[in-house]
């Protein structure tokens, strides 16, 4: 059956997940596919992330309608009611146009029935294959039947058919018969051998006798055609000999494909016929086999071919838009032989391998020991730019993330060794260009003692060949050109990014262009659009990015996709899924149904089921205890539904395995039987039994009983009253700031049909972007801005207030009222979401003769003069540029990110106009991240001189006859140099605009540098902590026009998410107040991290904003009167769970306070 989705997201790493969630939250249905058998992309392998050096993926999950998605660690898995996840799936073809694409997908089978696999691992134990584990970056081995990610849910084994030996041992070992090698089905799978040589057939028949295939033989072409036409025994595979008499092979092939387009034709050729066979293969034959065949290779080959043909699926989908989020691959230093001892020395590893070594799920359980000899690692070196910024490896780009990864890894090594590890990072430029990067680097250097050495390691040799020690000696030239050597325990190669494997094929299938490095091509002003309309690039698909920018890019892609779907296939045409209606059971006495899944044979082997059922039946309010087949299969689930129908319980408890996997099912069950899923629970009864097979039955039974009784009392105490009603949303947005970011965000929201008020302080729109006259990549920013301003002013949904300010804003989530002061008087505006895009400006520091001498100017002024032609480049004798002029320095610990690009842009323009003009650039680290690196290469080729300086030893500027004299120390020449240029150009960097009034009005915060503080650096990069408020542009962080556009679109998408629904509901775990007990002390208000609580002075009560509340329970713990409580975790629930927990554990000793009866009384209170 053909399914229809709003969008298809290709790639389920964090970029793809973000795009999928963004769309799903606006009510669009999304198909999320990945070619790997697991979601999470590279993040499944990286446990620790800058800047807090831990994970935080769960912060991506939706904040409203939390019950519609999973509410647990995203490393375990993800589900959302609007997202269908399809793994091991790839796009093979695409047709149609935006709004109605027809996509063909190929889903590779895992050969394991997920409904039967219980994850016991017996198959993996018997598998004779051992190949490198992808999950552990090759540091450990795995079998051919394996768990892709050990901690994913659902956790089913998959068969890696490419490495499988077809020995069938796993098939025999599986206790539940979950492995499906389609043995019976082989009888209907006809194979025809067309060969005049009877031996070929006799051999095949002989070899394949265990394989259960019906084989037929014909001796000439005409007989082959007749056999192919026999519909009752339709041939699936045709072995066609090139030397067949009668009808020639070409005719047979053509006729065969006419009769059955899916016929798999294998051409058999003698070595001298190979050429002809290859030519024929182009006409529809799938394979060419050279005679003679080897049974050892032929039989598994045919078996695998059969498995793929029978088990792989082809899916056709109709989708409105396509988002590509294939991420990136890591460069493999082993691909071109010996790079710095990698592969030869066990002490040389890649950064991904090092991450695995630090991981708790890695090869050494987070112990830092060296692969090969298990020596504890104490002295580690990192080498940057392995496979990046390397012309020889055709990678003249910066991978953008490796510098930060290495600093993080150095800190991680310090942490794992309790500060003992000595860490040195060898680098070319430390690219700490992102928000908070520079401060992180400074702290690592100053507080944690990470050593930074500006040098390139050129070779790695064993430290001491005679002793057999695996230590290595690295050789490098220091900046002064002296040869240095140092011994290390480990060298980590900071490997760069490469476009994902298969990008070229996918690009061809979809008809999109790639850039010269093989990444998806996007334009500067449309950073999320590919060259094909309706197909968008998310995450790092158009160039390597860190997590925060990956998510921003994904948000932007989601906005574009959502716009396409809105325009071409409006949401209104589809009937939205109705909100489930649950019956009100608050007046019923609690009635619990307990269903125990017995699909796993281990449960009944380890536990006396009758006794368990009897004990469970004795629990308070348990009305029925039933054993069911297998809860994870459809019949099993129907059993539960039937039980629920028959007994109409108002609480349901299911004992099964992998509770996480049941969350969507409980939701469905709730809809079918009209019971709130908050009154249902699934308990893991499998883990205690599996881990303790062969132990005393009584002990295991106690464990299982205890787990179930704890859940049962918790359900008993659950609040059955319906959730608070949904909140009405005002479907309008306020955008503060009419620069590039503000206008882009306003357009994004307005294009979705929502009214936007755009407030700009100045008399004209445009902001800082109006100062940009040309770009590095020959785009026309002036025209772009003119067009954008024009579209904004003409847009029917946008009201522009120029020369205006927001003076007042108040209200609750989803319903704000703001007052805008304009020259026409005050205007009041109701809105549901707010985007703050207040921008920044070029920082001016009056130093180095700036504003004293005419020959000193900023990069922006130089750009202006170059663009207007006011500057005569031929009259110049030389130009000096000083980078990081007061950036990354005291009082401004951040990189302004755009200055290096701007300097290169002006430098290349100067050189274009006057190639002989000497240009000197004094720099600290050239921040040409991503594809901007190539302009740095061009600048050096053009003859510009780059001179590095240290913060300790800045260039000195004096003036002689109004000519600047710059004195600096050249680290390469190791001496002082002097330059007397006719122009001195300074890179001042970006400062955010002053926003203290907005801070107070909207209750938002700024970081130490004055930029807006996001809710989470990485995972919520455009959200304020206070919901419904979003940020973008320079007010968030410095960035070029392309990055500003991306962040504005991401912010707009977040706003659209709020506005897309008339009503928003909270999650089922939410704080409440028992007003009769409340003393209005206000402790809960100050403790709430989300500002969800407020004191209503008129009613004299504490109110909870059910949309802002995220259910953390901090208020419940702090309340001195137990007046504040958290649904699902009310005091009596938790207290009775504690009792049940201790009741179950009785190790034959008297307890001081005996709570035998507590369960009954406290549990019954609700």
């Amino acid at each position: 059956m053909k399914k229809t989705y709003g969008a298809l997201v290709v790639g389920a790493g964090v970029g793809g997940i973000r795009a999928a969630l963004d769309l799903a939250e606006t009510g669009q249905s999304v198909a999320l596919i990945d070619k790997k058998p697991n979601i999470g992309g590279i993040l499944t392998q990286l446990d620790y992330q800058f800047p807090n050096d831990h994970c935080g993926m769960c912060k991506m999950l939706p904040l409203t309608e939390r019950d519609g998605s999973s509410q647990f660690c995203m490393r375990k898995g993800l589900f959302h009611r609007n997202i269908d996840i399809m793994l091991s799936t790839e796009v093979t073809a695409l047709e149609g146009e935006p709004g109605k694409f027809m996509v063909t997908l190929r889903k590779r089978s895992a050969f394991v029935d997920p409904n039967k696999c219980i994850g016991c691992g017996k198959c993996s134990e018997v598998c004779p294959v051992k190949v490198k584990s992808d999950f552990n970056a090759g540091l450990t081995k795995r079998s051919a039947i394996y768990l892709p990610v050990p901690h994913n849910i659902p956790n089913h084994y998959v068969v890696d058919l490419d490495n499988c030996l077809r020995c069938w041992q796993c098939y025999n070992a599986c206790p539940t018969g979950a492995i499906d090698f389609k043995f019976e089905e082989r009888q209907g799978f006809h194979i025809l051998v067309a060969d005049s040589d009877p031996k070929t057939f006799e051999d095949m028949k002989d070899w394949l006798q265990d394989q259960n295939f019906p084989l037929r033989h014909v001796f000439d072409g005409d007989a082959a055609v007749d056999a192919l036409a026999d519909q009752s025994r339709q041939v699936r595979i045709l072995f066609l000999d090139m030397g067949l008499p009668g009808s020639d092979p070409e005719k047979v092939l053509r006729r065969g494909l006419e009769l059955n387009p899916d016929l798999h034709v294998v051409l058999m050729a003698q070595p001298d016929q190979e050429q002809a066979a290859r030519e024929l293969a182009g006409q529809g034959a799938k394979d060419v086999l050279l005679k003679p065949f080897e049974p050892k290779r032929f039989v598994p080959w045919l078996d695998k071919l059969y498995m793929r043909m029978m088990s792989d699926e082809t899916l056709d989908l109709d989708v409105g838009a396509v988002i590509l989020a294939g991420g990136f691959e890591c460069y493999d230093p082993g691909e071109v032989g010996d790079v710095l001892g990698y592969g030869r020395e066990p002490a040389v590893v890649t950064s991904v391998e090092f991450e695995r070594m630090c991981s708790g799920t890695g090869p050494s359980n987070a112990k830092l020991i060296r692969p090969g000899d298990n020596k504890p690692i104490k002295k580690i070196a990192w080498l940057q730019c392995v496979g990046s910024r390397d012309l020889k490896k055709k990678a003249d780009y910066c991978s953008s993330v490796c510098c930060m990864i290495s600093i993080k890894e150095a800190l991680l090594a310090k942490k794992l060794t309790k500060g003992e590890a000595e860490t040195t990072i060898f680098y070319m430029d430390m690219r700490t260009f992102g928000k908070e990067y520079e401060r992180y680097r400074q702290n690592a250097e100053a507080n944690d003692g990470v050593k930074f050495v500006n040098a390139r390691i050129h070779s790695v040799v064993p430290a001491d060949q005679t002793s057999g020690s695996k230590d290595i000696k690295v050789l490098y030239l220091d900046e002064a050109g002296r040869l240095q050597e140092e011994v290390f325990d480990l060298l980590v190669l900071a490997v760069g990014a490469r476009p994902p494997v298969g990008t070229k094929e996918l690009a061809e299938a979809l008809g999109i262009e790639t850039n010269e490095w093989g990444y998806c091509k996007t334009r500067y002003f449309t950073p999320s659009r590919t060259s094909a309309y309706g197909i968008f690039a998310a995450g790092s698909y158009n160039g390597p990015k860190d997590i925060a920018e990956t998510l921003i890019q994904s948000g932007a892609a989601a906005l574009e996709a959502s716009r396409i779907i809105t325009i071409y296939a409006p949401l209104t045409e589809r009937t939205p899924e109705p909100q489930p209606e649950y019956r009100n059971v608050s007046r019923e006495t609690p009635k619990i149904l307990i269903a125990l899944c017995t699909s796993c044979p281990i449960l009944e082997q380890t536990v006396d089921m009758d006794s368990l059922v009897a004990r469970l039946g004795g629990l308070a309010s348990v009305a029925q205890v039933a054993k069911i087949g297998s809860a994870c299969t459809k019949p099993g689930w129907e059993e539960i539904e039937a039980l629920a129908d028959k007994h109409s319980p108002n609480r349901i408890l299911i004992g099964a395995c992998q509770p996480y996997a049941y969350i969507p099912k409980l939701r469905e069950l709730g809809q079918t039987i009209g019971l709130n899923p908050a009154l249902m629970d699934v308990v893991d009864i499998f883990t205690p039994t599996a881990a303790r097979q062969g132990e005393d039955k009584g002990a295991v039974e106690r464990e299982v009983f205890s787990a179930l009784s704890m859940a049962s009392v918790r359900l008993l105490g659950a609040d059955p009253t319906p959730l608070p009603p949904a909140t009405q949303v005002t479907r309008k947005a306020l955008v503060v700031g009419g620069g590039l970011a503000g206008m882009t965000a306003a357009m994004g929201i307005a294009d979705h049909g929502y009214a936007v008020s755009l407030v700009e302080e100045q008399e004209t729109l445009g902001g800082q972007a109006m100062n940009i006259r040309y770009t590095l990549n020959d785009e026309d920013p002036v025209k772009f801005m003119e067009d954008l301003i024009d579209s904004v002013q003409k847009h029917p949904n946008i009201t522009v207030y120029k020369d205006a300010r927001v003076v007042l804003s108040s209200g609750r989530a989803g319903r704000f009222t703001s007052v805008i002061a304009t020259d026409q008087g005050a205007v009041s505006f109701d809105h549901g979401a707010t985007v703050l895009a207040t921008g920044g400006r070029e920082a001016n520091v009056y130093d180095y003769g700036f504003r004293v001498h005419k020959c000193v100017m900023t990069q922006r002024e130089l750009e202006d003069q170059l663009a207007s032609g006011a500057l005569d480049t031929s009259a110049l004798s030389g130009v000096a540029m000083i980078q990081c002029w007061r950036s990354r320095d005291e009082g401004r610990s951040y990189c302004s990110r755009v200055c290096c690009g701007q300097a290169l842009k002006n430098l290349l323009m100067l050189k274009k106009r006057n190639p002989e003009l000497p240009v000197y650039v004094f720099y600290r680290d050239i921040m040409t991240y991503g594809f901007a690196e190539t302009y740095y290469t061009q600048a050096r080729k053009a003859g510009a001189v780059f001179i590095r300086y240290d913060l300790k030893d800045k260039p000195k500027v004096e003036f002689e006859d109004k000519v600047p004299v710059i004195t600096a120390r050249d680290p390469i020449l190791q001496r002082e140099i002097q330059v007397r240029p006719s122009l001195l150009v300074l890179s001042g960097g970006i400062e955010p605009n002053e926003v203290s009034d907005l801070q107070e009005m909207f209750g938002v915060e700024v970081n130490a540098d004055g930029f807006f503080q996001e809710a989470e650096y990485k995972w919520r990069p455009v959200d304020f902590l206070k919901q419904r408020l979003f940020m973008c542009g320079l007010a968030r962080a410095p960035g070029n026009m392309s990055e500003t556009i991306a962040s504005a679109k991401a912010a707009a998408q977040r706003a659209v998410r709020i506005l897309s629904e008339m009503r928003l509901t909270s999650g089922s775990v939410i704080a409440e107040v028992r007003h009769s007990l409340c003393s209005l002390c206000g402790k809960c208000i100050s403790v709430c991290p989300y500002g969800a609580r407020s004191l209503d002075l008129e009613q004299d009560m504490i109110l909870v904003d059910e949309l802002l509340c995220q259910g953390c329970g901090a208020c419940a713990a702090v309340c001195p009167n137990s007046a504040s409580l958290l649904r699902g975790f009310r005091d009596q629930q938790v207290l009775s769970v504690i009792d049940a927990a201790l009741n179950g554990l009785n190790y034959g000793r008297a307890r001081a306070a005996e709570p035998e009866t507590a369960t009954q009384t406290e549990g019954g209170e609700s």
Partner: protein, 140 residues
């Protein structure tokens, strides 16, 4: 009399330690059966009365475990837990309860091994400490 086997109640946060515990369970790492996991949304919601209740009702120790500092799903719940546990330990000392019986740790989602180690370590520690002798002191 049988050898003393301690009973431990563990309040674990939904986002990090619960996942780690699940990982430890499914990965079949060695675990002592005498620990009862109680899933909370956040360590910041572990009311001191839950800890006292658990000790009163027969637990020999209480483990509270959540996300690492700076990593809390709810921004700062673990810091709240840290302050609260410190104070609680001091109060409980007044009732003759060793501070080791109320333990606070940070275990991230992928640190299943860390969780198993923490539990094993705590169980061994409490085995040496023996049962709580002064439980009746707490009953007012």
């Amino acid at each position: 009399m049988e050898e003393f086997e301690p009973t431990i109640v563990a309040f674990v946060c939904n986002w990090c330690t619960y996942t780690a515990a699940d990982l430890a369970g499914t990965a079949r790492m060695t675990q002592f059966p005498n620990v009862r996991l109680i899933r909370m949304m956040c360590t910041g919601m572990v009311d001191p009365k839950y800890v006292i209740k658990a000790l009163l009702a027969g637990a020999d120790a209480v483990l509270i475990s959540g996300c690492h500092p700076g990593d809390c799903h709810y921004i700062n719940g673990n810091y709240k837990a840290r302050r609260r546990v410190k104070l609680l330990q001091e109060i409980l000392t007044g009732f003759g309860i060793d501070t080791r019986r109320v333990k606070l740790t940070w275990v991230g989602a992928s640190e299943g091994n860390e969780f198993a180690e923490t539990v094993n370590h705590l169980v061994n520690e409490i085995r040496e400490l023996g049962p709580i002798e002064t439980r009746e002191l707490m009953v007012v």
